[in-house]
Symmetry: C2
Amino acid sequence: MIALDWGTTRARAFLISESGEVLERRSADQGIQSVPPGGFPAAFDAIAGDLRRASPDAAIVLAGMVGSRNGWIEAHYVACPASPEEIAAAGMKVTLADGSPATILPGLSCDEGAFDVMRGEETLIVGLRLADGIACLPGTHSKWARIEGGRITRFASFMTGEIYGLLRQHSILSRLAQEPSGDDAARGTADGLAAAARPGGLLNTAFASRSEVLAGRLPGGAVGPYLSALLVGHEVAGAQALLGRSDTVHLVADGALAQSYGAALAAAGIAATLTTPEAAFIAGVRRLFESVSA
Amino acid sequence: MIALDWGTTRARAFLISESGEVLERRSADQGIQSVPPGGFPAAFDAIAGDLRRASPDAAIVLAGMVGSRNGWIEAHYVACPASPEEIAAAGMKVTLADGSPATILPGLSCDEGAFDVMRGEETLIVGLRLADGIACLPGTHSKWARIEGGRITRFASFMTGEIYGLLRQHSILSRLAQEPSGDDAARGTADGLAAAARPGGLLNTAFASRSEVLAGRLPGGAVGPYLSALLVGHEVAGAQALLGRSDTVHLVADGALAQSYGAALAAAGIAATLTTPEAAFIAGVRRLFESVSA
């Protein structure tokens, strides 16, 4: 099968064997915001046309913002609790330039406390193949989800990555933050996780890094890691408060995010399993496709 | 006396009678960041020279960032707990262009939990003339202080105003926020204060306004008031956690800040007294000057 994770600014395409092996992968900056009205068949061809021609019998599944109001066709949100079968059943059919069909997967909505939505992350969560557990997908707008009896029963978003960027690039703290050197990263992470557990809250403890640097107690290179750890620590605490305490969290991340979330979970006494976003996507899209074609 | 509240971007000058009446006031955009090295005597003359010539015998007291490292002369922070007498005694003398003396008031530092500093706000807090209580000074970087036995025993900063500006102007939420109309402000304030009391924390509940607008449940005009109330609600909760719960808070504010903090305090079941920043400054500078000249 050919599967696309087609988001707002980027698209990733995978050619997947029947046994689940990734045979080819493509990455393109043709996110849905760069596609003109009516331009999706041509955009698909530009991103994955060569995969298509090499494997003309492959089924085609598209996940992510391509199913939003501004995408190819709107695949309406499936309300939680939702099983993989219910998500797959809400997929929409579209037609490629060569007349063959493709399936666009829907997003999920959740209406507990506040309304919340996701598009694309549901596929990665399904890919964890959990019967019960808590999943964490870090990012600009992190998602946490609770899975019970194989269904996604509740989820919540956290604007952690975006607020980190605002503080690090545009706030008064950005003027004294420097590139980490030596043990700045370890120091900032330890201080930030400790600060996340202090009373006073985010608005107080984020600002505290400024006074600590001005007083010569925290190096400028530790400010970025401090803010990151502080925010992730608050996200972990907030997610536990919303979804319930869990001894283990299933983390879908790689690189720096895997490290920083691993450290925050460990500081909260929570074990973590780690799955890369690509592995979760491949497993998820295969699981959903099994349901579509069943 | 002539008193200046001389900050980073602005200066406010007051001619005050012996009974405490404000006889004249000036406001200038000659904050300390616009004054070149060695230029403070000339800058004082530009801001308040006319007041000085009309009242040549008036004592002169300068408060705020003018006493910082980048100001006229550095008046070192006085460590908490600090009485008005201790603050006044740490004042520094400088000489005006005409050879007469002026006093620059110091700032305060606090070293409980995290290091914190203020410059200028200590004068307003002294101006409340509290024996015991909690003071709240809203702003870009709000300050909360505890007063016990007439001394400022502890304080803490919250970057509430700055984070509001970042979210309202530079985040994904800014794209769907509109100018409030009708009952948008009341609706956003009520929803934001309710959200501040929900589990999940700031990173989750700030983002929730986006999904609520996209779902048609919150008008775009309510996003700004929602974010403001959410942040102020978190500030109030954080300050209580740090400084202890108080049945009454002494609020130094006017205009929109007086309204929004008044609403957040009321929602938390806390009574508020209200003093304008100008009244608190005048009372504080007079109280400190009494000590200087005693």
